[in-house]
């Protein structure tokens, strides 16, 4: 039986800041349409791993393959092309403050993909509609709520037609009432077959929607498995400890 | 090569002579400028409406007129009123008054940044306005004004070269004279440039040392 080639393959990621080793030999395989969710204590390396995958942070060791092709970081042009295919959603949104919501989505299309102004605008409006922000396209980031900002950043990433989406704790900076609007967008994306790797503290959401859960602590992947396995009969004791504590705190948020 | 050596023997003493005059211009001007700045700064913040108004007008004029214009007024203009100042004195007057206006800006900023609460506390303890200024405000304001005022002194070191324009022969003046005699403009002005670079660099370094020496924990980030 031919094993399907994973869309994204990460091997042996290591990152050290001074004395501290933040990532230790992390490896990952993500298949098409899968939603892989990273969980674990803060400082465990989730954010670093995600940012190493698209080389925003340069790992000390580690290799990445997208659809079977390895990404050589030093080939600048290939790196930029790769990043277009990997969408990233940040915890702090990182919207471009000097551009409107529409501008945030069109800038990648015009300046990176080289689309014509009119075509870029049409596509951008379509993406913003998809995240339910049709009426806010002319607003600046400072005029948007946290949930709206995050949805713009999702539209911005989706407009580039990525193969994979990386979401770095997309709801951690949001007020509780606004979290659900972003999570429902993520659910929609999954339903439409987007391949995603996401880190989150929302155990309930993870349990419902994830295809696979990855538990990271102190830079090491301690355990991976289906939601059922991880949450009910995890192999590793540390995993069980963490899960029970979190479920206590957050319940099924 | 021999010529170069011979020239240096003529040039260096003359430049040194000029340097002495420059320092004789800079030091008094810096001191007077600081004193004027402190007084005017205080008047602008603590004075009543009329006094503050006059102080503010002074600053507007002496920061608004180019230094060159001010120097010309003291040297060429005062004779109209029967006052004849030597180039040297006119230069010091010009530098002090102009510099004082800029210093007062930094002093004013520093004074305003002292939280109102401390002033209220001092007043409630029974300090008179004068005592409050001296004991509570000035020690803190001094530290906050230091970077700005220090930089202003460094500007003064450079602007002292303008004394040449009212015929006061300091370092730049000496250089111009020798250069026009020997036509060795590039060499001489590179040397003069180096002299000034040394002066400003040393002054900057001293200023940084002094600032670090006076640094208080938690003091740097101040809100207004």
């Amino acid at each position: 039986m031919v094993e399907k080639e994973p869309v994204l393959r990460v091997e042996d990621m290591t990152k050290r800041y001074g004395q501290k080793e933040v990532l230790h030999g992390a490896s990952l395989r993500v298949n098409k349409g899968e939603l892989k969710i990273l969980i674990g204590p803060s400082g465990g390396g989730k954010s670093t791993l995600l940012q190493c995958i698209n080389f925003l942070v340069i790992p000390d060791t580690g290799r990445v393959w997208l659809k079977g092709e390895e990404i050589i970081r030093s080939h600048k042009r290939d790196l930029y092309a790769y990043r277009q295919k990997v969408g990233m959603i940040f915890q702090d949104f990182n919207l471009f403050d000097h551009l409107t919501a529409l501008g945030n989505v069109t800038i990648g299309l015009e300046r990176v993909k080289g689309m014509a102004k009119k075509a870029a605008r049409e596509k951008a409006v379509a993406e913003l509609e998809r995240v339910d922000l049709r009426n806010h396209i002319s607003k600046y980031p400072a005029q948007l709520s946290g949930g709206q900002k995050q949805r713009v950043s999702i539209a911005r990433a989706l407009a580039m037609d990525p193969e994979v989406m990386l979401l770095d704790e997309p709801t951690s900076a949001l007020d509780p009432e606004l979290i659900s609007e972003v999570l429902s967008v993520v659910e929609n994306l999954r339903a439409n077959g987007m391949t995603m790797v996401m880190s989150t503290h929302h155990m309930g959401f993870a349990r419902e929607v994830a295809d696979e859960i990855v538990f990271l602590e102190d830079g090491c992947i301690l355990e991976t498995g289906s939601p059922d396995k991880i949450f009910t009969h995890a192999e590793c004791e540390r995993t069980r400890e963490f899960c029970s504590k979190i479920l206590e705190l957050y319940g099924n948020a | 090569m021999e010529e170069l050596f011979f020239i240096q023997h003529d040039v260096i003493p003359a430049l040194w002579r000029g340097m002495i005059v420059s320092i004789e211009l800079i030091v008094p001007s810096a001191i007077f400028g600081l004193i004027i700045g402190i007084i005017i700064g205080n008047l602008r913040v603590f004075g009543n409406t009329i006094v503050a108004g006059i102080a503010n007008s002074y600053v507007a004029i002496f920061r608004g007129f180019p230094l060159v214009v001010q120097l010309f007024i003291w040297y060429f203009g005062l004779p109209h009123l029967g006052i004849y100042l030597s180039p040297f004195v006119a230069a010091i007057v010009g530098f002090s008054l102009c510099s004082g206006a800029y210093h007062s800006e930094y002093v004013r900023g520093a004074l305003l940044s002292i939280k109102k609460g401390q002033l209220l506390a001092a007043q409630s303890l029974g300090f008179s306005k004068m005592k409050m200024i001296i004991s509570v405000v000035l020690p803190q304001a001094f530290r906050r004004a230091l970077p700005g005022c220090g930089n202003e002194v460094i500007y003064l070191i450079k602007y002292s070269s303008l004394a040449y324009m009212i015929t006061c022969i300091e370092l730049t003046g000496e250089a111009k004279i020798i250069a026009s005699e020997t036509f060795k403009y590039t060499e001489i002005f590179l040397i003069v440039g180096a002299y000034y670079l040394v002066l400003t660099s040393v002054a900057t370094w001293l200023l940084n040392r002094f600032e670090n020496h006076l640094r208080l924990p938690g003091f740097d980030h101040y809100s207004t």
Binding site: R83, Q84, D97, Q143 | G64, F76, K158, M165, Y196
Partner: protein, 222 residues
């Protein structure tokens, strides 16, 4: 006393022509300072360590040597040596521009450094090269933030332009002195010159304030 006013009144057109020369010097110098200053700032923030060293050395030199010395050095020294024959007006623009670039680079550098790191990250995440990120994301924001500092630099360069008189450029100060040496009305004429400079300062800073309002991003608070 009335004599003085008559002299000023008659000299006014001549002086105002001088302000066009002054304005020309400022425009040239500020433009040179702006373009070169941005390059220096970007080099100092994002460049190779060697580039950063060069920029710091440049800034140290052009902020440490007096304007008058640099004017003499360039006009009588360097350009003569290189056999380049430029009018004093042009040399004044070049020197003032080079000095202003050194100061402006620090204004822009401060503004660039004050932007959150996430802006650059998000740009790169979209696949933008460093050059595009700086051009389309960093600079538009940094330049807006720099307007107050730039306004301050404008008033400094305006006043420094009077030193061009030492090279014989017939700007406001030179003309005032010219008339004064013929009419002996030094005091009133220099005062008038000073007032013209005040007016030019006011017009410039006012204009820049309007520009700041015009390009302001709604809700942007840094």
């Amino acid at each position: 006393m009335t004599e003085s006013f008559i002299v000023i009144y008659e000299a006014l057109p001549y002086l105002i022509q001088g302000s066009f020369v002054t304005i020309g010097i400022i425009c040239g110098a500020m433009a040179l300072g702006l373009s070169f200053g941005i390059l220096l700032a970007v080099g100092q923030v994002y460049g190779h360590p060697f580039i950063r060293f060069l920029v710091r050395a440049y800034v140290w030199f052009f902020r440490g040597v007096p304007l008058l010395v640099l004017l003499f050095l360039f006009y009588f020294g360097l350009f003569t040596l290189l056999n380049i024959n430029l009018p004093a007006f042009t040399v004044a623009i070049i020197v003032l521009g080079l000095i202003s670039a050194a100061y402006q680079s620090q204004i822009f550098r401060g503004a660039i450094l004050s932007l959150p790191e996430g802006q650059f990250k998000a740009a790169r995440a979209l696949g933008m090269s460093d050059k595009k990120s700086i051009l389309f994301i960093i600079l538009p924001q940094a330049l807006r933030l720099s307007i107050p500092g730039w306004s301050n630099e404008y008033s400094i360069v305006l006043k420094d332009s009077a030193v061009a008189y030492a090279l014989g450029v017939m700007e406001i100060m030179a003309r005032a002195h010219f008339v004064a040496s013929r009419t002996y009305e030094h005091l009133p004429l220099y005062f008038a010159a000073g007032v013209i400079f005040l007016i030019l300062t006011y017009l410039g800073t006012r204009g820049l304030k309007l520009l700041e309002e015009k390009v302001r991003i709604p809700g942007y608070a840094r």
